[in-house]
């Protein structure tokens, strides 16, 4: 299970990084989203993978680690704010320069 989980994480990170390096804003935002999935899943996994043990007191004997979950929960919400900010910046760049490239006009091929 751990190996499968890590492979999925690697796939997400690779896809995110590749899109992050594209020259247009929209793929960069999509890449950022994919990368944040990978990061959230990674942080979540620092508490290890538990099956059927939600951290609700009284439901079982042992529990999944609640601390990384709390961290990741806020990270997901902040991640949304970050994505939104990136989107708005992309739109602002579009309105300022008339194109959706990430680099300066002169850098465009």
């Amino acid at each position: 299970m751990e190996l499968l989980y890590s492979m999925v994480l690697g796939g997400l990170a690779a896809a995110g990084v590749y899109l992050l390096l594209r020259g247009r804003t929209f793929p960069v935002v999509v890449g950022l989203t994919l990368l944040s999935y990978a990061v959230n899943l990674f942080l979540f996994a620092t508490g290890r993978l538990a099956t059927g043990l939600p951290a609700v007191i009284g439901h079982s004997e042992t529990y999944a680690d609640p601390l990384p979950q709390a961290l990741v929960l806020t990270a997901i919400v902040i991640g949304f704010a970050l994505t939104a900010l990136a989107v708005i910046l992309a739109l602002a760049a579009l309105s300022a320069s008339g194109h959706d490239g990430v680099d300066d006009e002169k850098e465009q091929p």
């Binding site: 190996l3 997400l12 899943l41 309105s95 850098e107």
Partner: protein, 931 residues
């Protein structure tokens, strides 16, 4: 002993007085500046008997113990003499500047800078803690920068100020490193401890490094060769500044540090050779150059360099008598050099020039000033009956006592005599070429006359001190000198006598040679000037400027290479660097598999994982067709939510699910404006590079994750699991952590969310975007304002969704749910109304200001936290009890719920702020056909 702190703080606080008086008449402004300087001297009076009795007063004030930093101050003989010099000469300079500054010069600003400098200098000499000393040391550099550059319109002044700042500031950095090493060796930065651990320090392996670093600070500050070049360029400052900083005080900070740290650092061969030889070189270079300067202040500047070299040399000799001589010469030099600078300023002021070649015969016009200048110049030349003679005799005596190898034993006294010869010659030139020797030629102001009566008063006082000390050393300077020398030596004082007449001996012969030789040199000066003209003269100013320019040029080239305005390039470099740094750690692992048994894979999870990977791949492969890519992305997001659910994190699954929805809506809205496709732009090579970086990142993240998951771990969560119910009042530990244990973090996070929402709102307000009239396939938009099915469905769903969000909110403390999730559900339900009914229709019926809502949320959360202050508990302490709500069953009611309400409101506010505004941007501007 708190008044020691007042001595340092008074000038800083007092600088407000001349600032406040800057628009009043000038005498008011000057009086305002005199008050703080005079008060520091008054504060010193109670300490006089103790100090002269050899006592040390230390005022302990701990501050950052862990960093070794304290605000402790120390007043002993050495600091006492320096406080006298700094405040006393400061007072005289204040008076002098009143007459010196022109009507158009902003006087208030000058006095403010001057008082800042005075406070900084007092801080340097009174600090007990070395880090505190360093702080004030840097302040003197900064305030001297302001003073040198006082005439901001003058490019020479600006350049000179910058040069002084770079040289002394650079030395200051070295000094800081040296002090840190010193504190490490001694185990404390308190001077009392450092000075007592001399042996420990000298035998430490770090001693040479610390010594060199500290000496770099000293030599740059005290203008020692080869760092002396900044001082002549600092002469672009107004003359009162030169009289104060560049003769009496700031340049003395370096030699003060030599005196201060003498017990801790001196006594080794390294100390002896470095300090003595640098001092000797400075002494010679300064004395010889001074003679050939045609600018009065330039002559005095090089003379100052030379005398500072003499003092440094004395400290280097490792002899306690030499320290007495050095301290004595510090006092003497301050008095005669300050008065000479003031005299030069008077001449400049009254004639309009400082060029010695144009001056001459001024005795007829200003005999009084000439007499004062002659007294001070005689002291500088070391003429008997003036104070300079006494310390110079001691200096000659000391260099004759040298105990070292043959060539140096003869060379040093000969060089010392030679420097004294030049010193006499330039002193003669200062007097004879200016006040006698023919008539002045084409003076800007003719005829010159004596300056205002009280402009001469400071010069008279200082010249008087030169004479009094020279004639009656036993009655005047003996006690403070003994106290200062004793404090510097940190032990017993050697026996010495301050008499004028010691009989016929070698030092007297050297003095005689100096006087006769100097007179001969001056008489024969034409020949030497001709010789000097043929010498190559490197222009330090130009070399320095050129070097600065080269460094700036190289720095901007370097910056331009990395900061090339290409996001792709930045990201590629950053990712490559991160890969290298983290990858190195991963490769250094002995084995990737850490040994913990792996869990088995079940079929459902395997299929889900496969689906996730396929969707990820599809997102990338189809990334040029943006809408398709977006649909694939949403599949990935849903699978991630399922992954959270699968691995026992229901809260995360709910959050991810709802965030996924708003994210996709957001991206779809953005696609309305952005092009629908991504063109092929990158070369195959670039794509190959990106794929390599991406694969590297994938391998790294996957590898790290596997290495981590297969290793045993410990967690601190036991605490949270234990205390959640009894102390947090909730069974859902994740929620309790968010709203209670780590509530402060959450408060920060919702603040970020609210700020992001506001920032986005502000940016959208200013945005002007062209709205595309057709979709990617050139079809005009459908303009069905009220899609019947959606409108009806959404109106039914709204109350249900709101009810669910209320339920999720209330159960959050004990079951998966809470403010974050409830807020997102509410936001989604509201957004659905916007989509179905249009922005105009919806906002007409739903009048909520989302900015206010987001801010209100943060305020509610913050106030809930602050409420615990009323119960005398720390911020965000929660209380809880049980409450029965009709129809919903029994709930545990915790004050954390009010906090969670704040979270809820912020999430709704921020999310709606973002989405509704972006939505509004797209409506009302499209003209399409109605279906």
């Amino acid at each position: 002993m708190i008044d020691l702190a007042f001595i340092v703080l008074l000038p800083f606080a007092g600088s407000l007085l001349p600032f406040a008086a800057r628009r009043l008449r000038r005498p008011w402004c000057t009086s305002a500046a005199v008050i703080p300087a005079a008060l520091t001297l008054l504060l010193l009076i109670p300490y006089v008997p103790g100090i002269l009795g050899g006592k040390t007063f230390v005022f302990h004030q701990p501050w950052l113990d862990a960093a070794g930093m304290s605000l402790s101050l120390r007043l002993d003989g050495l600091s006492f003499v320096f406080v006298l010099l700094v405040s006393g000469i400061g007072l005289l300079v204040t008076l002098y500047a009143h007459y010196y500054l022109a009507a158009k010069d902003p006087m208030g600003r000058f006095y403010v800078y001057l008082l800042w400098f005075m406070g900084s200098m007092l801080g340097v000499v009174l600090s007990e803690n070395l880090l505190l000393l360093f702080f004030f040391w840097e302040l003197t550099s900064l305030s001297s920068f302001l003073l040198i550059g006082y005439w901001t319109h003058d490019s020479d002044a600006r350049k000179g100020a910058r040069m002084a700042l770079i040289v002394t500031g650079g030395g200051g950095l070295a000094l800081l490193a040296g002090i840190l090493l010193l504190g490490r060796m001694a185990g404390s930065y308190e001077l009392s401890i450092v000075l007592a651990s001399g042996d420990l320090i000298r035998n430490h392996t770090l001693y040479p490094a610390a010594l060199v670093l500290i000496l770099l600070g000293v030599f740059t500050k005290s203008a020692q060769f080869p760092f002396h070049f900044w001082l002549p360029h600092a002469m672009a400052a107004p003359t009162p500044v030169s009289a104060y900083l560049h003769s009496a005080t700031m340049v003395k900070a370096g030699v003060f540090l030599l005196a201060r740290l003498y017990p801790a650092l001196s006594g080794t061969e390294t100390w002896f050779y470095t300090v003595t030889l640098v001092g000797l070189a400075t002494l010679l270079v300064g004395a010889v150059t001074a003679l050939f300067r045609h600018d009065l202040k330039g002559l005095l500047a090089y003379s100052t360099i030379s005398h500072l070299g003499l003092i440094t040399l004395l400290f280097g000799l490792n002899s306690s008598l030499a320290v007495v001589a050095a301290v004595f010469h510090i006092i003497n030099h301050a008095t005669f050099k300050a008065s000479l600078f003031m005299a030069a300023g008077i001449i400049d002021h009254e004639t309009g020039t400082r060029d010695i070649r144009r001056l001459g015969g001024l005795w007829r016009f200003m005999p009084h000033t000439a007499t004062l200048a002659m007294i001070a110049a005689a002291a500088m030349a070391g003429v008997p009956l003036f104070n300079g003679f006494l310390s110079k005799e001691m200096f000659f005596d000391e260099v004759l006592q040298l105990n070292m190898a043959a060539p140096l034993r003869f060379f040093v006294p000969v060089a010392a005599t030679l420097a004294a010869v030049f010193s006499v010659a330039y002193s003669l030139r200062f007097i004879h070429d200016v006040f006698f020797n023919g008539k002045p030629s084409d003076l800007p102001h003719y005829p010159p006359h004596e300056p205002p009566r009280y402009m001469k008063l400071p010069v008279e006082i200082l010249a008087g001190v030169c004479l009094l000390v020279g004639l009656l050393p036993g009655l005047t300077v003996a006690l403070p000198l003994a106290a200062a020398a004793k404090a510097s030596l940190g032990g017993a004082l050697p026996s010495y006598s301050l008499a004028i007449w010691h009989g016929f001996n070698l030092p007297l012969a050297m003095s005689a040679i100096a006087l006769i030789g100097g007179a001969w040199l001056y008489v024969k000066r034409r020949r030497f000037f001709a010789w000097n003209r043929r010498l190559p003269k490197p222009d330090a100013g130009r070399i320095f400027e050129a070097a600065t320019k080269r460094i700036v040029f190289a720095a901007s080239r370097f910056t331009a290479f990395w900061e090339n305005a290409s996001l792709q390039s930045y990201l590629a470099w950053m990712l490559a660097a991160a890969l290298a740094a983290a990858g190195f750690q991963l490769i250094s692992l002995e084995a990737l598999h850490g040994g913990v048994a792996l869990a088995p894979v079940d079929e459902v999870t395997a299929v889900a994982a496969l689906l996730l990977m396929v969707a990820t791949l599809a997102t990338v492969v189809w990334h040029r067709r943006r809408l398709v890519s977006l649909v694939m992305l949403s599949v990935v997001g849903l699978m991630v939510a399922l992954a959270f659910a699968r691995f026992s994190a229901p809260d995360l699954a709910l959050t991810q699910l709802s965030v996924e929805m708003v994210t996709i809506i957001l991206l779809m809205l953005s696609l309305f404006f952005l092009p629908r496709t991504t063109p092929v732009e990158s070369s195959p090579l670039r794509r190959g590079r990106d794929m390599a970086l991406a694969s590297g990142a994938g391998l790294l993240v996957g590898g790290l994750s596997f290495a981590m998951l297969s290793r045993p771990y410990e967690t601190i969560s036991g605490f949270f699991l234990q205390k959640s119910v009894p102390e947090g009042g909730g069974a859902n530990v994740v929620n309790v952590i968010l709203v209670d244990f780590r509530g402060f973090d959450t408060l920060g996070e919702i603040s970020v969310l609210a700020i992001a929402g506001l920032a986005i709102y502000a940016m959208i307000e200013q945005m002007k975007l062209n709205v595309p009239q057709t979709d990617a396939l050139n079809r005009p938009w459908a303009m069905d304002a009220h899609p019947l099915m959606l409108v009806n469905l959404s109106r039914v769903i709204l109350p249900l969704a709101l009810l669910i969000s209320v339920f999720i909110f209330f159960r959050g403390h004990n079951l998966p749910g809470g403010g974050f999730i409830a807020g997102l559900i509410t936001a989604i339900a509201l957004i659905l109304q916007y989509i179905a009914g249009g922005a105009a229709w919806t906002s007409k019926r739903f009048r909520v200001n989302f900015q206010v809502l987001a801010g209100l949320g943060v305020a509610v959360a913050g106030l809930t936290g602050a409420a615990s202050f009323f119960f005398h508990r720390p911020f965000l302490t929660s209380a809880f009890g049980h409450v029965r709500l009709p129809a919903l069953g029994e709930f545990e009611w915790a004050s954390a719920m009010a906090f969670d309400l704040g979270v809820y409101l912020t999430v709704v506010g921020a999310t709606m702020l973002i989405l509704s505004n972006l939505g509004k941007l797209s409506t009302g501007r499209v003209s399409g056909r109605k279906i």
